[in-house]
């Protein structure tokens, strides 16, 4: 439980910072070649990049985008995977068809599938959110289905059935609360893995366009000037790590409970 609390506090501070800070910082898009690649200083705490843009402003704006992508992917995965998993509660055509589709999607290596989808849709926020959602659905659906089926065959659900409680009541009142902990862990996992995947995809050019500030994009720029500008690599990396560690702490905490 302590782990969950620590993780949540870090996450709340980070997201508040990303929402509140931008008006007080420089414009993340403002180019000024006269100050390109200047070291971290009091004016630019994180230094400037190859076009003289303020790295702090870009990291904060990028964080906002990364967290939004992670949140949207988690939400969309949940909205698609939960109903399909519950539809598979009992054996039948729906179950076998949906699970076959899951098998096929699971056989595709997730990184490559995300790259293929994102590039095929023209790289952008919409493309990347859809690509990452498609990658996360199969595992999430399978997990919820397995948990829900385990609860469904337990004695207390049988007792409720025998008492004549309606099906949807059992579903929402009994099965869902029991599935909730593993659902939350899975959500934290999807959140953190999609933030990582977005950074990795933007890093190799399959994510957000280079003009949009994103953690992966700043890192890609930093890679090309790694001998001159260490700050372009260090600061976005620290923020990615902090976010992902916070999410993993939340998941670990719920799991241990």
């Amino acid at each position: 439980m302590r782990k969950t609390a620590v993780g949540m506090v870090i996450l709340v501070i980070l997201s508040l910072a990303f929402v509140i800070l931008p008006p007080f910082l420089e414009d993340a898009y403002e180019v000024d070649m006269s100050r390109r690649l200047s070291c971290p200083s009091s004016g630019h705490p994180f230094g400037t990049d190859t076009l003289g843009r303020d790295v702090l402003a870009r990291v904060v704006t990028g964080g906002r985008i990364s967290l939004s992508v992670g949140f949207l992917v988690t939400l969309m995965t949940l909205v698609t995977a939960l109903p399909s998993a519950l539809a598979c509660l009992h054996d039948g055509i729906v179950d076998s068809v949906l699970m076959r589709i899951c098998d096929i999607l699971k056989a595709l290596p997730s990184t490559l599938l995300a790259i293929l989808l994102s590039v095929a849709m023209g790289t952008g926020v919409v493309g990347i959110v859809i690509a990452l959602t498609a990658v996360n659905i199969p595992q999430t659906a399978r997990l919820i289905r397995a948990r829900a089926r385990a609860v469904d065959s337990s004695l207390f659900v049988m007792a409720k059935r025998a008492m004549g409680v309606e099906n949807w009541r059992i579903l929402t009142g009994t099965i869902l609360p029991h599935v909730l902990p593993s659902l939350l862990v899975q959500c934290a996992f999807v959140f953190s893995s999609s933030i990582l995947a977005e950074a990795a995809l933007s890093f190799i050019g399959a994510g957000l366009p280079a003009a949009v500030p994103s953690w992966g994009g700043i890192l890609a720029e930093g890679r090309s000037v790694i001998f001159e500008g260490w700050w372009l690599v260090v600061f976005p990396s620290l923020f990615i790590l902090l976010t992902v560690i916070a999410l993993n702490l939340v998941a670990d905490g719920i799991e241990e409970r």
Binding site: D103, A107, L113, G122
Partner: protein
């Protein structure tokens, strides 16, 4: 036989998904490469000729994925020339991941004290949170930029100079290996803990066997099944997610090819890479299942 049939079905499904992705999704490659200011006729000249699904599948089965839409080179020869470096890197990384996690888990379970368990907790959480490409950048910063010990990139072919080849793969393999060791650590920890509380381990210890033998031979054999499955999955994951790492260290493997293909919106190459990775993933997991079945039949369980 049933396994082979389901393997075939999955492969057909995979091919359909890949075909649909490259054919029906809206991103226009020509527009991306030439900008908005060109007439419609120019777009059409750039467009890849449309191929029906069955024809595409038939060609794919014969390893003909068409011509790379840039540089007009054959996709399959492009891949064949680069697969060696990637395969070597993936195998090295997998071996490193296994060694790291075995060492950490054995320390934590053999000498149970606050220090070793904290070491296990910290390393597994870091490994699960630290993506391989960030670790790669950090290693370059420390060992190439600050200390100047190792080259920041480049690749020596194994046949030319085995030692130089391993030296050039050291940093990429460490990054990929450490990033994937977290899963192994968690899995090995829970499996070993379960096995160590069983009576046969107590017997082995009572016989006075060295802890090393108890771990590696007695408990190790009993967690072989889950470890084999995890190894097979991880090998495919490492193999298909090494793009960023290969790009950082400029290793001429399939990952670097992926990055080039992305920059050029080269759909035939991307499709071929996805098909190759899915094919190996499906074949490996089926092979895993079959060998495990054979082993269980021999043991009689």
């Amino acid at each position: 036989m049933a396994k082979l049939a389901s393997m075939l079905l999955t492969l057909i499904g995979v091919s359909f998904v890949v075909y649909a992705a490259i054919t029906y999704l809206p991103g226009s490659r020509a527009q991306m490469l030439m900008g908005e200011a060109v007439g419609e006729s120019a777009y059409q000249r750039m467009a890849i000729p449309h191929v029906g699904y069955l024809e595409w599948l038939w060609r794919a089965v014969h390893l003909d994925f068409g011509v790379s839409s840039f540089g007009s080179q054959d996709v399959s020869s492009l891949i064949a020339g680069r697969i060696g470096a990637s395969l070597l890197l993936s195998l090295l990384s997998l071996a490193l991941a296994l060694v790291i996690s075995y060492a950490v888990v054995r320390l934590a379970l053999q000498y149970r004290n606050p220090f070793t368990s904290a070491l296990y907790e910290t390393l597994s959480l870091t490994s699960l949170s630290l993506p391989s490409f960030i670790l790669s950048l950090a290693l370059v910063l420390v060992f190439s930029v600050a200390l100047g010990l190792l080259p920041s990139g480049g690749y020596v072919r194994f046949c030319d100079n085995p030692v130089g080849c391993l030296a050039s793969l050291a940093m990429p393999a460490i990054s990929l290996g450490f990033a994937h060791s977290g899963l192994f650590m968690r899995m090995m920890h829970s499996s070993f803990e379960r096995e160590l509380s069983r009576p046969y381990v107590m017997l082995a210890r009572a016989k006075g066997l060295a802890e090393g033998r108890v771990f590696a031979l007695h408990a190790g054999v009993n967690i072989l099944d889950e470890m084999t499955t995890l190894c097979a999955q991880s090998l495919v994951t490492i193999f298909s997610s090494s793009a960023a790492v290969e790009y950082i260290y400029s290793i001429p493997g399939l990952g670097a090819l992926t990055v080039t293909a992305i920059a050029r919106r080269d759909m035939p190459t991307l499709a071929a890479l996805v098909m190759l990775a899915s094919f190996s993933s499906i074949v490996l997991s089926t092979a895993c299942d079959i060998t495990m079945d054979a082993r269980h039949r021999r043991v009689g369980t």
